[in-house]
């Protein structure tokens, strides 16, 4: 077996083992969207009327609309969790052992990203299964079609998480990420309400939502879940994934980025 495959397998295995050890992390990742689905969406069902909007072919309940957004929420939080663990590993020194591997840094970071996405995608499928039992039933083909969309959206959000991790100097600063990245990205998107609704309320906010990459990640998942492809969302999500990952590689490059400015202890 090639050394590259072995190295990727090792990184993936560690991610899975760590995840399996932290069952509360799995529960927290599931409880968050389920609370939104069971409580928030039930409350909003009567307030928000939803007309026929692609990819839906009929009027739909709010729970159905919000489900792809909640899949995106799982991926978004998983990406930020990955960022948090990178900052933690850097503070404790554990990341050094990863970065002194003879494999190129882009490969190590990419492997860590893909491994984290695979774990996050499992969480999304667990959520979709519970949503199915709750009565949200997209076509069965959608469960297969959504896989590449989830992977791509996960890679884009995970790469953003890695990029953020390169800019955060201390673990304590991570609360700022919640306030300045996760919440604005999630609320200023099409995850919770259709953009035409947003346009009626505020044109400026509508345009902000339109340029938010998270909106396109959610729409990519939404269309895929119904066996369709949104080319615009695919292009934006893929483009952002490439840009975020390339910027991460630059930030972690030994000759550039954060490591040059961080003084070692002794």
């Amino acid at each position: 077996m090639s050394g590259w495959v072995i190295a990727f397998g090792g990184i993936l295995r560690r991610e899975v083992l760590r995840f399996a050890r932290q069952r509360e992390r799995f529960l927290a990742a599931l409880v968050r969207p389920l609370v939104w689905l069971f409580i928030f969406a039930a409350g909003f069902r009567s307030v928000l009327g939803l007309s026929i909007t692609p990819p839906y072919k009929t009027y739909i309940l709010y729970e159905i609309y919000v489900t792809p957004g909640l899949c995106g929420m799982i991926l978004l939080f998983a990406g930020m969790q990955s960022s948090l663990s990178m900052v933690y590993d850097r503070e404790t020194g554990a990341m050094r052992s990863l970065l002194v591997s003879p494999f190129p840094r882009w490969f190590l970071l990419g492997s860590k990203l893909v491994a984290a996405v695979m774990v996050a995608v499992l969480q999304v499928y667990a959520f979709l299964l519970i949503a199915w039992i709750w009565g949200i039933r997209p076509p069965l083909v959608g469960f297969v079609a959504v896989l590449p969309a989830l992977v791509l959206a996960g890679v884009m959000l995970g790469a953003l998480g890695l990029l953020i991790s390169s800019a955060i100097r201390q673990l304590e600063n991570f609360a700022g990420v919640m306030n300045f990245v996760i919440f604005p990205m999630f609320f200023a998107s099409s995850a919770l309400y259709p953009l035409w609704r947003m346009k009626e309320s505020s044109l400026l906010l509508y345009h902000i939502c339109r340029i938010n990459p998270f909106t396109h990640a959610v729409e990519l998942v939404r269309f895929a879940l119904y066996g369709q492809l949104s080319m615009l969302s695919l292009a934006v999500t893929a483009g952002c994934a490439v840009v975020f990952f390339a910027a991460t590689v630059v930030m972690y490059d030994p000759a550039k980025g954060l490591w040059r400015g961080k003084r070692a202890a002794g």
Binding site: A7, S97, A255, R263
Partner: protein, 250 residues
């Protein structure tokens, strides 16, 4: 390949390395050489630049100027070959406390492209070498401080490196555990033929015949044997005199 014929004899060759963190000069024109199969103590107080030098050797980041070669491979231009020949024990813990010793070592073997039966054999081999074969299934967080340092050394030896870098490897250990680690490392040099750069500020760890490089405020002040450096005094007295530090600093 950028392997230099001139440096074939050296496990590590550092030539004229300087590094700055913004306006702070961390290393200035540092040069040292560790011959193959030898022990070299990098002696310096906290903040001397030892960890910065280790970070440059392991290419955590690149130096501002100068050249570093590991077994003749340029750390910057042939970093893959250079890093494949280095085993490093950092000052801070690199093992995952939530995973077992075997799981940790299998992960680090994979980071060097070693998997399957070869990885299992190497893990068993290094655990036996450091005397932890009976703790293979234990979670790292349940190991004592001394056992964790030995586990870190086992991790560093997995890919059979030519050069072992140990950064304050005995920090926080009691006298017995420190002696165990020192005996282990010196034994590895004698039996496995690895070279070792041992960064420390604990003078008791250095024997009279040891090669010593004194690093102070980012500069090399001495590069000789411990006995020559001491020159009739204790090593502590000679170190304080050389660095100009007040008594009790070493």
């Amino acid at each position: 390949m950028q392997q230099s014929a001139a440096s074939n004899a050296a496990a590590l060759a550092v030539a004229g390395v300087s590094h700055r963190f913004g306006s702070v000069e961390a290393l200035r024109d540092v040069s040292l050489m560790v011959p193959q199969g030898s022990f070299c103590a990098l002696l310096g107080v906290n903040g001397a630049g030892k960890s910065t030098l280790f970070s440059l050797i392991t290419r955590l980041y690149d130096s501002t100027s100068g050249r570093i070669e590991v077994a003749g491979y340029d750390a910057r231009r042939a970093s893959r070959q250079a890093l494949a020949r280095i085993g490093v024990v950092f000052q801070s813990r690199a093992l995952d406390g939530d995973l077992t010793l075997t799981q940790n070592l299998a992960y680090h073997a994979a980071l060097h492209g070693i998997g399957g039966a070869a990885a299992r054999a190497r893990v068993a081999e290094v655990l036996a070498l450091v005397g932890l074969h009976d703790r293979a299934a234990a979670r790292v967080s349940t190991l004592s401080g001394g056992q964790q340092r030995r586990a870190e050394i086992a991790r560093a030896l997995l890919h059979r490196p030519q050069l072992l870098l140990l950064d304050e490897a005995t920090a926080g250990l009691d006298v017995r555990a420190r002696a165990d680690v020192m005996t282990l490392v010196r034994g590895l040099i004698a039996t496995q033929g690895v070279s070792c750069l041992w960064a420390t500020h604990i003078l008791d760890e250095i024997l009279p015949a040891d090669h010593v490089v004194v690093l102070h405020r980012g500069r090399v002040l001495a590069d000789t044997t411990s006995a020559v450096l001491a020159a009739g005094q204790t090593l502590a007295e000679a170190f304080l005199q050389l660095t100009g530090l007040p008594e009790g600093a070493a």
